[in-house]
């Protein structure tokens, strides 16, 4: 289809010079909050789209996780051992694995299990955005993309200091243009649709429930 390429570019280039320059860049003021306000704004926005937010000291989240697992009747909880939180989770249920599940190898080996046997998956997060109540995930080899997508419940661990004011601020501070992962994801609540009579229904294709544990310094 090289002809298509050169024909399209030729037509565009021929027309090009006639267009007016637009050097203007209207500044858009960005919201600024204190750390406490950021947590508040984030939680409020998340809860408004029916996500569950728990603010917990970073030495208390394991107990909270165990409570949530039993309270919600989560039979199988997927997590990834080679992560910052992996060993703590691995030890949480003592010597027995209890509900804990891990998946090794590539998706072709565990897709079936992920679709049918996993009630909930726990992942860490790259950052979050206060303005819109948004989690930012950069899935990697430890925590693949499908972990936060396929199981009916997604539990996300977020460090409070990783909440940024706005998406624009996050992209600029971290210079995202210099290197993006295979998949960068913004997640703002559980999966939903309003395709039937504009009525919100949750859990269409992705998780039915999103639970965020915001970890604050103890």
């Amino acid at each position: 289809m090289n002809d298509a390429r050169s024909n399209i570019l030729k037509r565009l280039k021929e027309a090009g010079p006639g267009l007016p320059e637009t050097a203007e860049q209207t500044p858009v003021p960005l919201a600024r909050w204190s750390p406490a306000q950021r947590i508040e704004r984030f939680s409020q926005r998340m809860e408004s789209v029916r996500a569950e937010v728990h603010i917990v000291p970073d030495n208390g989240w394991i107990d909270l996780l165990k409570e949530l697992v039993s309270e919600k009747g989560i039979g199988t909880l997927l997590y990834s051992p080679p992560t910052e939180y992996g060993s703590a989770i691995g030890a949480a249920w003592g010597t027995s694995d209890g509900p804990l599940r891990t998946l090794t190898g590539e998706i072709e080996e565990w897709q079936e299990q992920l679709f049918s046997d996993i009630d909930a998956a726990l992942t860490s997060t790259h950052a979050a955005i206060a303005e819109t109540g948004t989690l930012v995930l950069w899935p990697d080899s430890a925590e693949p993309r499908t972990f936060s997508l396929v199981p009916p419940i997604h539990i996300a661990l977020l460090k409070a200091e990783r909440i940024f004011d706005t998406f624009a601020d996050l992209v600029a501070r971290e210079q995202w243009q210099n290197g993006l992962p295979t998949n960068a994801l913004l997640i703002s609540g559980p999966s939903k649709s309003a395709d039937i009579e504009q009525t919100l229904a949750y859990g269409v294709h992705g998780p039915v429930e999103l639970i965020v544990l915001v970890l604050t310094e103890a």
């Binding site: 280039k13 999966s191 992705g206």
Partner: protein, 472 residues
Amino acid sequence: MQQSVEFRGRSREALGNEQIRSNFRQAMDGLMSKRKASFPDQDELRRLRLRAAEIRANALLKLPELLERLEQRCHENGIQVHWAESTAEANAIVLGIMQRHDARLLIKGKSMVSEEMELNHYLEAHGIECLESDLGEYILQLAGEPPSHIVAPAIHKSRQQIAQLFRQKFPDIPYSEDVDTLTRSARTILRRKFNQAPVGLSGVNFAVAETGTICLVENEGNGRMCTTVPPVHIAVTGIEKVVEHLADIPPLLSLLPRSATGQHITTYFNMISSPRKPGERDGPQEVHLVLLDNGRSRIYQDQELIQTLRCIRCGACMNHCPVYARIGGHAYGTTIPGPIGSILEPQKAGLDRLGDLPTASTLCGACAEVCPVKIPIPDLLNRLRFERVRSDGDNLTPGQGSQRHGWEPTVWRAWSWLHAHPLVYRLGTRIASRLRWLQPRRLGNWSRVRSTPRVASRTLHELAAKNGFNDE
């Protein structure tokens, strides 16, 4: 002309259908008030719209260069880029990829470009099953209907109609009119398919030239499914969707969902920059990006009409259009309905086929007022009204002059001559006012749905003179 007749017929039919009228009225009222509530700060909105318009105008200004950069960056990232001049070429590219993988099932996220390509129809003719996975699109596929809105495709259907449809297609599932239950049924059915499909297809909301990134906006998670679970992902996009910088994305993302549905952000914003890398454990092994022209590079050549290509497909113009709200999306008979469709589609298909669409507007200006990228839609509608009757075409817009019929040019020539000759004009209007009893009671099509205007008994000049105004 065939299409024009159809448009008039379909509009009349839609206007007579109370279900359509009330479904659309309710939905549009809801969408309008949600949009309004999501922009409490008018100054922020004003600045964001200016910024977004600049971003899109800049991207169009540099379009050929940005497309080359996008291709280069995608190539470096491992995404395979394909170029298609026509929908036929784009379909053939998708089919080629499917055949190379011996794939018999394509699972689709929402994509208006795939609608433009009539991809499902094409692939099905080649023995490949296409499955829509967006809830609204899935419902329409079951019903065998095209979308009637670009953001909320099944907006014309009521809960009861959808429940009936499910009963008919899935007699084993218990009947329910409950939205959650209907949604849950669709989830169960489609999950099995996601687990099996060898190839997933998506559209593209923004393509970032700087980083070679495909961005997708969605709420349901089906877009993520289509682009993550199957071993092959094909993204189809119009060539105009590219933006220069990654930093251009936050302002556009801030406007798009708010303009569309009043959400501050969609549930998912999915940025894909490469296929599965060595060591990564999921994601497609192959990612393809199909760049479709289909008339866009021709629209690009007109300095005024090029503004059509700024569109980011939020649907706000249709949500606010008094014509769209009454006749609904199907009456337009085009992939994209509403005000943006009325300027975009005739430029693609030709004014000879869709020449009536630019007239399907009251020019009230609501569309331009809400457009997040400030497309002057009423100006462009007017421009196309001119294009459809002009006799000295520049051959850029197809079907130029095709609606120039019969006595109309002569009547307008006489009209303009009359207005350029004051004495004749005065004499003429005076005679008309004196002979007004001769005026017919009905004026053809004009008075079919309107009362007939009457010539006044005294001309404006006479009334002004009588009241002491002197124009000499």
